[in-house]
């Protein structure tokens, strides 16, 4: 999992200028984004001692990172395909703006729209007005390339290297992607970032379910013609309430698939985290 391994250095780069000295290091770290809920509500106030993490069955010494030190990079990935009705498009634009408005200083956002084509309307930027303006673009109507768009969002967020939240909105199933869904899900296991999806369709959400699960995120089903605005804000709030566990793998061979098992010492609590990650052999 090169992206997560590189996270320590990459995170630092977010607020730095090119003039600062840089260095390479042999330190490898893994960061795991964890959501803890009880009765559907996020649990706050947990400490490092509350967590137990196993990497391929081997317990690791974890640290709890202060997420406030980590600005977010939000990749908004919005379905502008033919199935979207004008009223729904207006609601989607409002929802996008409300999410951008809720970001904090230092946070960044990018905007991808898709029909059969995936368009990067705005690259990852802290100039959030550009994202707000980008939401007004005229949709390029056509069939839906959901898998292509999700892959582009994953890779875009991964390339940034920060703490990445990918928000995918769609109201239609994939009908024209070149990338196969299983390949995109496999990529999700390799990259940094958590994917949440807002689903406004009535078809099969299997791909989105698999995709979000692979990163520890989830699908919010708002139903046909539902307003995505509250869902977008719920995602942002939930994402901010997640815990960031970091550790340097010990006692496990590098390379290949690393199954993760994260638990908390709290009865009735539910833990959502990515089920594992791929790490390239050294």
């Amino acid at each position: 999992m090169r992206a997560l391994v590189a996270a320590f250095c990459a995170v630092m780069s977010l607020g730095q200028t090119a003039a600062r000295p840089t260095f390479t290091s042999g330190v490898e770290g893994v960061r795991v984004d964890v959501l803890v809920t009880e009765n559907g509500r996020p649990v706050t106030g947990l400490t490092t001692a509350d967590f137990e993490l196993r990497d391929n069955g081997v317990r690791q010494a974890v640290a709890l990172e202060n997420q406030r030190d980590l600005p977010l990079g939000v990749v908004l990935t919005l379905d502008f395909s033919a199935s979207l009705k004008p009223d729904d498009l207006a609601a989607l634009r409002r929802a996008g703006r409300s999410l951008v408005d809720a970001l904090l200083p230092g946070d960044a956002a990018a905007l991808l729209t898709f029909s059969h084509r995936v368009l990067r309307q705005v690259p990852l930027t802290r100039a959030l007005d550009q994202v707000r303006a980008g939401l007004d673009v005229t949709p390029t109507r056509g069939p839906t390339s959901l898998a292509d768009a999700a892959l582009a969002a994953l890779l875009l967020g991964d390339a940034d290297g920060g703490r990445t939240l990918v928000v995918v909105f769609s109201d239609g199933v994939d009908t024209s992607s070149y990338q196969r869904p299983e390949v995109v899900v496999e990529t999700a296991r390799r990259v940094n970032g958590v994917v949440y999806a807002v689903w406004a369709g009535d078809g099969d959400t299997g791909f989105l379910r698999d995709l979000t699960r692979a990163t520890g995120g989830r699908v919010i089903d708002i139903g046909k013609a539902g307003d995505p605005g509250p869902a977008f804000l719920e995602i942002l709030s939930e994402f901010r309430g997640r815990y960031l566990l970091t550790y340097t793998p010990a006692g496990v061979p590098p390379g290949g698939w690393h199954a993760l098992d994260v638990r908390v010492a709290r009865r009735g609590a539910r833990v959502d985290a990515r089920p594992g990650y791929f790490s390239a052999a050294p």
Partner: protein, 441 residues
């Protein structure tokens, strides 16, 4: 490849299927011989004489204005006329009506499903005169020209055909449109295609021995698929006449490959939930059919690169990565068609990946990206492969190319893949029309 907007193409995407069984309340066959109208046949022959194939002329517009009922009458009368041409002494004719419900209803009542027409001394001379006119022009000449009239109405002026009125047969074939995986409208198929097929079937000595009929089927099928119109009925007729023709087998394979795609399968899902049949099978079954048809096309023409390309892609979708790599590599060695080469390189990349061979996959995608530098599909795949091997610079560069280039519809031939097999259809159809113009017998 086509450059038309995919939105339009998707909105026109059609699967033809009768969704429900026949209804017992069928229209009665036209009364015979009282309903016989010699004037209509004379008129029809006049239109056939005047129409210049491929032109939207006054004759074509006249034919396009004929109502559904008139076309049903014409269906019977033209068959009677052609039989009268072959058998001048005959005064009694039996013809199956075009409306399947009418035939079914008669069968249910224990009656001969055919309509019988008897000609007495008052009518027979007029029929004989019309038959003599056809004989003078040459029966094959007339049926080919007539077939082109009805082909041209269906292809050049479909919007001029009057909308059907009154109760429609439930088993009448319908043209269904899909947009973004959802069902759009459904319209009853025009009878002009039925008439055209009936006429080409009358080419003598036998339509299956006639290269013009073969070319007509190839051209009309390819032109339809070029318009994102998958006409199962037309294909079924074509395969009945030319069961071993590589091009027709290829186009049939392309239809099943399309039916296996998420677009069609998603359209079918709610229908299947409601115990309705969408007119095609599940993805696995459709891929099997497609593979079998592509193989048969290759048996007939081993140098048919595009059939091999399609076979390779289907094998890849079936999880037979090694077989797919073999077929697609074969295509890349042999083809001189840049579009086929692009598709083959793109699909070979995916097949190599499925086989666990990242390095050759990368080479294949790079070849695709070189062939069509502005196409996003290959760049996106290359970005993914770069991420896997930890090459962040390459990941960013390929992603930049993938996302920076997707700004016009014709950027990536992948988006036109579903209809690309029909790209020669309009040219072939023009050639078929010209063949007639040059005085084919």
């Amino acid at each position: 490849m086509t450059a038309r907007p995919l939105v339009w193409a998707a909105a026109r995407l059609v699967a033809v299927a009768a969704l429900v069984g026949p209804a017992p309340t069928a229209a009665q066959p036209p009364a015979r011989p009282d309903g016989w109208d010699a004037g209509r046949l004379e008129h029809w022959l006049g239109v056939v004489d005047r129409h210049v194939p491929g032109e939207i002329d006054s004759a074509l517009l006249e034919a396009a204005g004929w109502t559904r009922d008139e076309l049903h009458e014409l269906w019977i009368e033209t068959q009677v006329l052609l039989r009268a041409v072959a058998e001048p002494q005959e005064d009694r004719f039996r013809v199956l009506p075009l409306d399947p419900d009418a035939a079914i209803a008669r069968r249910r009542r224990g009656l001969d499903p055919r309509v019988e027409m008897r000609f007495g001394p008052a009518d027979l001379p007029r029929l004989g005169a019309l038959a003599a006119r056809v004989r003078t022009s040459g029966p094959n000449h007339v049926v080919r020209r007539a077939a082109l009239v009805h082909t041209d109405v269906a292809t050049l002026t479909p919007d001029r055909i009057p909308a059907p009125t009154g109760a429609l047969s439930m088993s009448a074939p319908r043209r269904r449109s899909i947009s973004d995986g959802r069902g759009g409208g459904a319209e009853v198929m025009s009878e002009h295609w039925d008439l055209a097929r009936m006429l080409v079937a009358a080419v003598r000595p036998a339509p299956e021995q006639d290269s013009w009929v073969r070319d007509w089927y190839r051209a009309t099928l390819a032109a339809s698929q070029h318009d994102d119109f998958f006409d199962s009925i037309h294909l079924r007729h074509a395969l009945r006449v030319f069961p071993d023709d590589p091009v027709i087998l290829f186009l049939a394979g392309c239809e099943h490959e399309a039916f296996a795609s998420p677009l069609f399968q998603e359209f079918a899902r709610p229908l299947r939930r409601a115990n309705l049949r969408p007119g095609f099978g599940g993805a696995g079954a459709e891929l099997d059919r497609a593979a079998a048809l592509f193989r048969r096309a290759l048996e007939g023409d081993g140098a048919f690169d595009e059939a091999r390309l399609r076979l390779g892609r289907v094998l890849s979708l079936q999880g037979r990565a090694d077989d797919a790599v073999r077929e697609l590599s074969h295509v890349l060695r042999d083809t001189d068609d840049p579009l086929v080469e692009y598709y083959a390189a793109l699909f070979l990349g995916a097949a190599h990946e499925s086989a666990g061979n990242a390095a050759p996959a990368r080479l294949a995608y790079q070849r695709a990206a070189t062939l069509v530098p502005h196409a996003p599909a290959a760049h996106l795949a290359l970005a993914r492969l770069a991420q896997r091997r930890g090459d962040r610079a390459a990941q960013v560069a390929s992603l930049d190319r993938a996302l920076a280039t997707a700004d016009t519809d014709d950027n990536d031939p992948w988006w036109a893949y579903r209809a690309s097999q029909g790209r020669h259809g309009p040219t072939w159809l023009d050639r078929v029309r010209r063949t007639w113009s040059q005085g084919a017998p």
